[in-house]
């Protein structure tokens, strides 16, 4: 074993300078070939007599302070280097007494998140023989921490240089708000620390990487050694610059955003002891656990006291009092020991990271000190529950161990053959160094899903190629729900809905946000695969919600307050609309919804927010969701003789909030039937592969949409604006001739949104005339279907905006006038029979007078205070 072997880890590795003993400082790194032998097991087997530092302080003390006879490596002079991070945080660095500023004056705080491996010796890279002592002079450059290729001095220097020099002019992170981007970023942060007094420095690993790739590699590979070095570097720098500041404890560096982002599923033994970032969802947090960091022992005989630091989760109880040499006389004094906070957090894979058909994995994370209670299970305070990954930077330390202590105690005795077997499974956990809620920003203001999805170069290339094709719009729309036949325009509409318009913010000028989402209503005969279309969209988009109007209440759609059974806290549970923020909310059976439920939608569909005032919680939540609703006609079959409003019986205030309203009707003509039959039959006999060829893959479509939504933000070009203005004016003109209003500003907004969405489909940063043309066409098609007045055959937007067509209104007025004339002609009769009046009016009028029309005319006259209707008699007033 004394023959040094290179490890397959690919890293340069320190040579073995230790004798061939199974000491805890043993040179091997068993599970991952990277660990430095800090299994809790060994701690029990061969407890180290405290730390090397104590040995220095009391050089006179005998080598073996305990009765344990394990041979330990002789402490070599060059291993004890006061500047090394190995000394960091040990009692020796703690100067008690007068609190004065400076590195030495500020107490270092234990970093349980890094484990207790700071005592690994430094070794000389070139010392080939055991115990070779490198001279102090040349040791400087060649010393590395044992088991790694990290040289403390170089590393420290590099990091200080990084802190002093790093400038990130393109930074757009929240945390950097208010910092001058052209000055060294981290120096400003240090200044902030000196003012605020919160001794935590978060360092973005990407910054480190762009500054010094080698340093970054070391950080990722040997976080346990490098981070203390960073701590030391930053503290030296800090106290040099702000010698008078007083901190609670020394500054701790918290790196985040390591590039090696992994999902939980791909964690493997090679990741042990590395710095990685994973994302997941918090499912459980434990109570706070006080963890002993330093035990205080006092001799019962002579009252001599000693401190023992925790070593890999164990405290080695000194068996002999150093002062009076009594054995087993030391007792632990609890309230003089040092504890730190610890919390167990269970995280689970986020649903979108998971392959289909498998269950999510969970991992245990330990949060320490101030990270305790930073996260909540299910992130309930955050409105988007299932889409709230929390990325953590962490390492996976020693990954140990399920080995029960009893077995080790039994080893020398060899009691029973069964007990000497050991379960060969490691227990793994993750120590959190940094939590970052990715959804935090979503509570306030706009976010751009920037960190949502990362695309590989190849993927982007494929998507761009696809976008360059002239028929990309048709391709994508036909790829949408291929199992549903035809309805091309509806699919196009939904496609544009999936892309959405550009988000505009006029909050500064006081106009608030403009809705960017396109809302679509499908109405039509039952059995025209509306639900299927909704299901498809729900499956396609990552943040989709599917509800049925029949089963959902206003509370289920919005949010409700409930008392958490465990904590007795009031928590806000979010409903479908809030959950689909930035996604699509599919509502089936829209017409079956109760009125109170529907009223919630008014705010959501225009202002895109949800106001909640419940149980003392008053808040406004974002619900920037596009609504895709499906409604059935009231008479189960669509009546072409009636208007849309009459057919689906929805309030026009709500209908006018839909950008596009489509009818899905059974066309009933032979050619259509034939195509439909062909489509259906082929569905049943073509194999999966054949279908795949014809249509785009669902995954490609999904990526395409995600990419466009994230990166493309089209703006109106000059020509496009002109085209839009013209289109709007044209629309207004159409109706004006007949005294009807055919367009409202809402329609113009719809047009703009649709045009922007179409530009997004083309991956174009500019909205051009063709986009406007398509938006106009689609809008017209939808209107043609839904807003055609069945009596005149003209498109009349008033049907949707006021619930009654202009012609109908005109007819009502005419009837009222005719009725008035009729009554006036009758002379002074204070009361009339209802039926007789109706018959008279019918006899007089040349157009057909329905009973409904007659009633409306009567009501209009009643409004004028001309008459009143009581039961079956009509009385004149005045």
């Amino acid at each position: 074993m004394s023959s040094p072997t290179s490890t397959p880890g690919g890293c340069k590795r320190g040579r073995n300078t230790n004798p061939a003993t199974p000491s805890s400082e043993g040179p091997t790194s068993p599970p991952s070939q990277r660990r430095r032998g800090q299994d809790s097991s060994t701690g029990d087997l061969m407890p180290m007599p405290t730390s090397p530092a104590t040995d220095i302080l009391s050089p006179a003390a005998p080598q073996d302070t305990s009765l344990f006879s394990s041979p330990r490596p002789s402490v070599q002079p060059n291993e004890v280097d006061m500047s090394s991070p190995l000394m960091y945080g040990t009692p020796s660095s703690r100067v008690e007494g007068t609190p004065r500023s400076g590195v030495r004056g500020t107490p270092a705080r234990q970093r349980p998140d890094l484990g207790s491996v700071r005592k690994a010796p430094q070794v000389d890279l070139h010392s080939d023989t055991d115990g070779a002592v490198a001279s102090e002079s040349n040791a400087g450059q060649r010393l590395v921490i044992w088991g790694t290729d990290v040289n403390v001095a170089t590393c420290k220097e590099k990091f200080q240089r990084f802190l002093q020099r790093f400038i990130d002019p393109t930074s757009n992170e929240d945390e950097n708000a208010g910092l001058d981007l052209n000055e060294p970023l981290y120096m400003q942060k240090l200044e902030e620390i000196s003012v605020v007094g919160d001794p935590v420095l978060s360092v973005n690993c990407l910054h480190v990487q762009s500054f010094d790739a080698e340093l970054y590699r070391q950080l990722v590979c040997y976080p346990q050694e490098v981070i203390p070095t960073f701590d030391m570097a930053v503290n030296e720098l800090f106290f040099e610059r702000f010698p008078d500041s007083i901190l609670e404890f020394q500054i701790q560096v918290r790196p985040y955003n390591a590039l090696k982002t992994r999902n939980m599923r791909s964690l493997n033994p090679e990741d042990i002891d590395q710095l990685i970032t994973i994302s997941g969802m918090v499912i459980r947090t434990s109570q706070l656990i006080p963890e002993m960091q330093e035990a205080f022992f006092q001799c019962q005989v002579c009252a001599y006291s000693t401190r023992v630091e925790v070593d890999r989760g164990r405290i080695a109880e000194p068996a002999v009092c150093r002062h009076c040499n009594t054995t087993h006389s030391l007792a632990l004094v609890h309230n003089r020991s040092v504890f730190s906070d610890k919390q167990m957090v269970k995280i689970q894979e986020s649903p979108e990271d998971m392959p289909a058909g498998q269950t999510p994995h969970t991992t245990i994370v330990y949060a320490h000190n101030d990270l305790v209670d930073k996260v909540q299970p299910g992130d309930r305070i955050n409105i988007t529950v299932n889409q709230s990954p929390i990325s953590l930077i962490h390492r996976r330390p020693n990954g140990f161990s399920n080995v029960p202590a009893g077995i080790y105690r039994a080893v020398p005795m060899r009691v029973s053959p069964i007990q000497s077997n050991v379960k060969s499974v490691y227990k793994t956990h993750i120590d959190a160094i940094h939590f970052r809620k990715t959804d935090e920003k979503r509570l306030h203001g706009v976010d751009d899903d920037a960190d949502q999805k990362l695309f590989t170069e190849d993927r982007v290339q494929t998507l761009k190629e696809l976008a360059a094709k002239p028929d990309v719009y048709e391709r994508l729309s036909s790829a949408l729900a291929p199992s549903i036949y035809e309805h091309e325009d509806i699919k196009k509409g939904i496609l544009l809905q999936l892309f959405g318009g550009s988000r505009k913010d006029f909050t500064q000028t006081g106009r608030g946000n403009f809705r960017a989402e396109v809302n679509i209503l499908l109405c039509g005969d039952p059995g025209t695969s509306k639900s299927q279309l909704l299901q498809y969209v729900f499956n396609l988009v990552p943040r989709g919600q599917y509800t049925s109007g029949k089963g959902s209440s206003a509370v289920g759609l919005t949010a409700y307050v409930m008392k958490d059974p465990e904590t007795r806290q009031l928590v806000l549970q979010t409903g479908a609309l809030v959950l689909s923020d930035n996604g699509i909310c599919c509502i089936d059976e829209f017409d079956k919804m109760s009125d109170s439920t529907r009223s919630v939608l008014h705010e959501v569909m225009e202002q895109q927010t949800l106001s909640i005032a419940k149980a003392g919680i008053i808040c406004q939540l974002n619900a920037r969701t596009a609504v895709l609703a499906a409604a059935n006609p009231i008479e189960s079959q669509w009546n072409p003789k009636k208007t849309t409003i009459e057919n689906i019986q929805l309030p026009h205030t709500l209908l006018s909030r839909f950008d596009l309203i489509f009818l899905m009707l059974d066309p009933q003509d032979e050619a259509y039937d034939r195509r439909l039959a062909h489509h259906l039959v082929s569905l049943y006999y073509q194999s999966e592969e054949q279908m795949e060829e014809e249509f785009l893959d669902m995954a490609v479509l999904r990526d395409y949409i995600a990419y466009a939504r994230t990166y493309i933000n089209p703006r109106l070009s000059e020509e496009a604006s002109q085209a839009l203005i013209e289109a709007y004016v044209d629309m207004r003109k159409i109706g004006s001739g007949r005294g009807m209003v055919s367009a409202y500003p809402r329609q113009l907004e719809s047009l703009i949104r649709l045009a922007e969405a179409h530009a997004k489909v083309r991956f174009s940063e500019k909205v051009e005339t063709i986009d406007v043309e398509e938006a106009k066409r689609l809008h017209r098609e939808a209107l043609k279907q839904s807003a055609t007045d069945p009596r005149t055959g003209f498109v009349d937007i008033a049907i949707l905006t006021t619930g009654m067509s202009a012609t109908a209104r005109k007819r009502k007025e005419e009837a009222a006038q005719a009725l008035k004339k009729l009554i006036q002609a009758k002379g002074k009769t204070p009361a009339m029979k209802y039926h007789q009046l109706l018959d008279d009016l019918r006899g007089q009028s040349e157009t057909a007078i329905t009973k409904e029309l007659f009633d409306e005319a009567l009501r209009a006259l009643a409004d004028e205070d001309y008459l009143t209707v009581t039961g079956k008699t009509v009385r004149l007033l005045a």
């Binding site: 074993m1 199974p22 000491s23 091997t28 068993p30 599970p31 032998g37 809790s40 060994t42 087997l45 033994p269 499912i283 434990s286 989760g313 164990r314 649903p351 392959p355 058909g357 498998q358 269950t359 994995h361 299910g378 529950v385 299932n386 399920n402 029960p404 202590a405 009893g406 007990q419 000497s420 077997n421 050991v422 379960k423 060969s424 499974v425 490691y426 793994t428 291929p482 199992s483 059995g527 299927q532 299901q535 498809y536 499956n539 089963g551 189960s636 059974d666 009933q668 032979e670 039937d673 034939r674 439909l676 039959a677 062909h678 259906l680 039959v681 569905l683 049943y684 006999y685 999966e688």
Partner: protein, 633 residues
């Protein structure tokens, strides 16, 4: 054949031999070779049957560390675990170091050197597997009967146990599972099953683990269906675990590990180590109970090879049909005649209604063969309305139970709907997926008895359960409840709904039963149905028929496509209101199933016309009954 015995009785020896041989050559890829070795051996004729099965041999008769097989469903997937793939042991006396292989083992040898540089950490995945839910007794018996494995009780077993009679066992079971039973009052069919088993239950001691549940009841083994028996197993998977999906049915060949050390360790940890190491106690007691149950109840199985179970019918050869052309051709030639017999049989059972019998056959061989985006193709949920009495539906279920490999009877009583857990739910405290009735294997027949439903109020759970059933029928998927979100799992379950009027659940096809029996004679007729049992050879024929018909391939020629299209256009022309796209969907499925039921693998003109014809008959019958019940849309 001593070699055979060797690889079955001592598979670890084989593995270790290979491991030792590979030490000289680091690139030998011994792991792949070892797996190959077992795969090759299992390919041999009769080899699979000579491996004892956990399903039908009680655990205490199996030799630890021997090769066993287990027919199971993946109920849950636990987190991956890291274990010592290779480790070094030190002999305390001689200080000699030996490299050992930790693969396929739970427990290491004594004297592990934890600091050895040769330790290699490897990763493996754990699946929690249960016997296939709803597996019918005839399947179990048939498998047990065909097994050639001679099970020698292990020497540690002293057969002093009082041999209890089956009835006593049943009583015991009843007592132990009482709370469960009260919660989910088990409907009738359970008893006939047991009655049936009773006839030949006086078997050898080495068979059927009937007494196992008695001892396991304190531990919730998380079976999807209430009242299930049999061992559950923690299967450790060493490679390609991404290929397995939840609810897959597998036949796992693996090394049995029942080392008492596993439970001993667990106990000891509870006592001492939790004080020593606070981090150990972070796992809740529930979690530990679920993830490290005593090995005597939940044995560990280290997977060497797994064969996906495509049909779970012991009467069929286990290989795929294509590989077994002789069997296929012989069955195909007989298919038409068997179908006729089956039709007569069903007609008799369905009170002389031949049309309903026809539809029942089609239903039983239906299968979701593909999915187009969200649309499952090939499902054929049948709603049999107009069923006379409750006792009749139970009889009907018993008959179906005799024919299909796995099935489940769900009485849709208000109590059941309001209290049962149909949808699996993630239990975060114990960190496992608490199973529900709808966690079923492929091709399971779910028999929904709506006659049990009476007037009353459905509470929240009830509404959720009914919605789940509706989703299952329409989309063939179940949304598992993960508390913070839902996850969709596709399934392939044949749902048969029996009801008085039209069912409140959606269905692909509804047929009203037309009884040819006068109400006066009904009682007598019903009682005679059960008497009229088929001979077992006849039953076996039916069983093979139903399984084979479901597995056949099917296609439609271009000409037929054309003529079907024409037909549809014509039908629409005649009566556009009554024929919709949905009708075409259904007729295409009916035509497909009709062809397959006759053993034809492509659509013929005749089958299409016949499909149209029976669909017409059915529809005209529905017209008649439209006014009869008020459940119409």
């Amino acid at each position: 054949m001593p070699s055979t015995r060797d690889w079955i009785n001592n598979p670890l020896g084989v593995v270790e031999g290979m491991f030792a041989a590979s030490q000289s050559d680091p690139n030998s890829g011994w792991e792949a070779k070892a797996v190959e070795f077992f795969k090759d051996h299992l390919k041999e004729k009769d080899a699979p049957t000579s491996v004892p099965s956990l399903n039908d041999v009680p655990l205490h008769y199996l030799k630890p560390n021997s090769l066993v097989k287990f027919r199971c469903l993946i109920q849950d997937m636990f987190d991956p675990e890291f274990y010592m793939g290779v480790y070094e042991t030190v002999d305390p006396a001689t200080k000699a170091k030996v490299l050992r292989c930790g693969k396929y083992k739970d427990v290491t040898e004594c004297g592990v050197d934890f600091n050895s540089r040769n330790t290699v950490t490897a990763e493996r995945q754990t699946f929690y597997c249960v016997p296939i839910p709803g597996e019918n007794p005839w399947v179990k018996e048939s498998y047990a009967g065909s097994s050639q494995a001679r099970v020698v009780p292990s020497t540690s077993y002293a057969p002093t146990r009082q041999k209890r009679s089956y009835e006593e066992d049943d009583e015991m079971d009843d007592m132990d599972t009482q709370p469960q039973k009260q919660r989910e009052p088990h409907p009738g069919p359970q008893s006939p099953t047991e009655q049936h088993g009773n006839g030949d239950c006086k078997r050898q001691e080495t068979e059927a683990p009937s007494s196992q549940t008695a001892s396991t009841s304190h531990l919730d083994l998380n079976f999807p269906l209430p009242g299930e028996k049999g061992p559950s197993c923690l299967v450790k998977v060493y490679e390609n675990w991404d290929n397995f999906k939840l609810n897959d049915t597998l036949e796992v060949y693996g090394i049995l590990s029942v080392s008492p050390a596993l439970s001993a360790l667990a106990d000891e940890k509870d006592a001492s180590s939790s004080i020593m190491d606070p981090t150990e106690s972070m796992e809740t007691a529930e979690e530990q109970r679920v993830h490290c149950p005593p090995a005597s109840l939940v044995p560990r199985l280290h997977m060497l090879h797994a064969r996906p179970v495509s049909h779970n019918n012991p009467l069929l050869p286990s290989a795929t049909l294509e590989d077994n052309s002789a069997f296929l051709s012989s069955t195909l030639s007989e298919m038409a005649s068997v179908r006729a017999e089956l039709l007569t049989y069903f007609t008799h059972i369905l009170l002389g209604d031949a049309l309903a019998a026809e539809y029942l056959i089609l239903h039983l061989i239906s299968n979701v063969y593909s999915r187009r985006d969200v649309l499952p193709l090939g499902k054929f949920t049948l709603n049999l309305s107009g069923c006379p009495t409750a006792s009749y539906t139970e009889r009907l279920y018993q008959i179906i139970q005799q024919l299909v490999p796995s099935s489940y009877y769900l009485g849709m009583s208000l109590q059941n709907m309001n209290q049962m857990r149909l949808v699996p739910k993630k239990d975060y405290v114990a960190n496992r997926l608490a199973s529900g009735v709808l966690q079923l294997a492929r091709h399971t027949s779910l028999f929904l008895d709506e006659i049990q439903l009476e007037q009353g109020q459905l509470d929240t759970t009830g509404v959720r359960n009914v919605t789940a059933l509706g989703n299952l029928i329409t989309w063939q998927k179940v949304d598992y409840d993960f508390n913070y979100h839902q996850m969709e799992f596709p399934c392939n379950i044949n749902v048969l709904i029996v009801s008085e009027g039209r069912s409140l659940l959606p269905s692909d096809c509804q047929i009203h039963l037309q009884s040819q029996v006068t109400p006066a004679n009904m009682e007598e007729y019903l009682s005679s149905i059960h008497m009229h049992t088929q001979t077992s050879s006849q039953l076996n024929k039916f069983r093979i028929y139903l399984s084979v018909a479901r597995l056949l391939d099917y296609n439609i020629s271009d000409e037929m496509t054309k003529s079907v299209e024409d037909d549809f256009v014509d039908m629409r022309k005649d009566d556009p209101q009554s024929v919709s796209a949905e009708d075409l969907h259904r007729m295409l499925v009916v035509a497909r199933l009709l062809s397959l039921s006759l053993g034809q693998t492509s659509l013929s003109r005749d089958s299409w016309l016949r499909a149209k014809h029976i669909d017409m008959l059915r529809r005209s019958r529905m017209e008649q009954h439209k006014c009869v019940n008020g459940n119409e849309p």
